[in-house]
Symmetry: C2
Subunit: 181 residues, 2 copies
DNA sequence: GTCTATAGGTAGATAGAC
DNA sequence: GTCTATCTACCTATAGAC
């Protein structure tokens, strides 16, 4: 609280005057960031698009979001490991929370129709999420190992979207060749 | 420290007598777990095997390790976001630390030879790691969303290894069909 | 609204008896 | 080695002057 007050150019007392408690302050900030995040994911997941196009959108938007909020994944993961129950309960209450069921359904349908390989929709969904999120969660480590600064790392992540989209497409398409959708 | 002492059936004083400080205790436990983890990864990464066989081994061993230490990823990520510099420095000092350079080289060579698609080796390496690690980092959330207990979730992760290996293979092979290596 | 000063409580660490 | 009691530091939160 002292450090926050210092950076804001005020004092601890005033911080409590505005936010009542440290926890209330944290929740307000965190919820605000997470809600923005959640809303955009909700939108792309709900869009009415062909499967592969939708996956491309997810990868692009997800990466964009995390590039703009590189510290967010750390907070989310921390909350997840200290307050998992409450955190999940709060997500469930959001009116515009990410709902993967539509994407899972599309994966199922396209698989049945033979337009993509017959993969397990849940595992595939999880794989897409993994490919997008993990590099940001592990950023503090990877960035230091490759000896680059944050901005360079984020640029590497933007380039990565092409590799990821290509990777997923190739893994899903029956022919195995990336197509132009 | 109080809770640890209680669970150990001793008192705080004795805990300090043995470990000197809370930080020293944490580091001892954490380093022990991480070193085991690091050692096994080092081994599979160093093995002299064909590329796809090696990737299968990585996926299997990584999953196995995390199934046996489901709490470890949480601690690692937390350390990563609070002590990144020191954490990375300590990893670098380990005599048997995971070294991805050999795998990256193999990806490059096989790509050049046309035996796999010409992918970016670093991004591919990162993708493999993502597919293995993320589901364990996000476990507290996913487990609650699917309403299953930890043991069921870990079983789901063991099944997942097949989906992941298949996913990677298909994404890498020029023909796009998973082969029997 | 904004500040200073301080109360209240918690937790890591130590002293000292046994 | 093991315990109890206590010290010390820190940090959240509040009281009260302006």
């Amino acid at each position: 609280m002292q450090e926050i007050a210092d950076r804001a150019g005020i004092n601890k007392g005033l911080l409590h005057y505005y936010f009542r408690s440290k926890e209330a302050l944290f929740k307000m900030i965190f919820r605000e960031a997470f809600t923005r995040f959640s809303k955009i994911l909700h939108t792309v997941l709900s869009e009415d698009r062909p499967l592969l196009e939708k996956i491309d959108r997810i990868v692009d938007e997800y990466t964009d979001l995390l590039c703009q909020n590189p510290a967010l994944p750390g907070f989310i993961v921390n909350e997840l490991h200290t307050n998992a129950d409450q955190f999940v309960a709060e997500i469930m209450q959001l009116p515009e929370r990410p709902d993967p069921s539509r994407l899972i359904l599309q994966l199922h349908i396209e698989g049945q129709a033979g337009r993509i390989r017959a993969v397990d929709p849940f595992q595939t969904m999880l794989s897409i999420l993994s490919l997008c999120a993990f590099p940001f969660i592990a950023r503090p480590m990877l960035q230091r190992m490759v000896h680059i600064d944050q901005e360079t790392y984020l640029e590497l992540m933007r380039q990565r979207t092409h590799a990821v989209k290509d990777f997923i497409r190739t893994a899903l398409l029956p022919g195995g060749q990336p197509s132009e959708l």
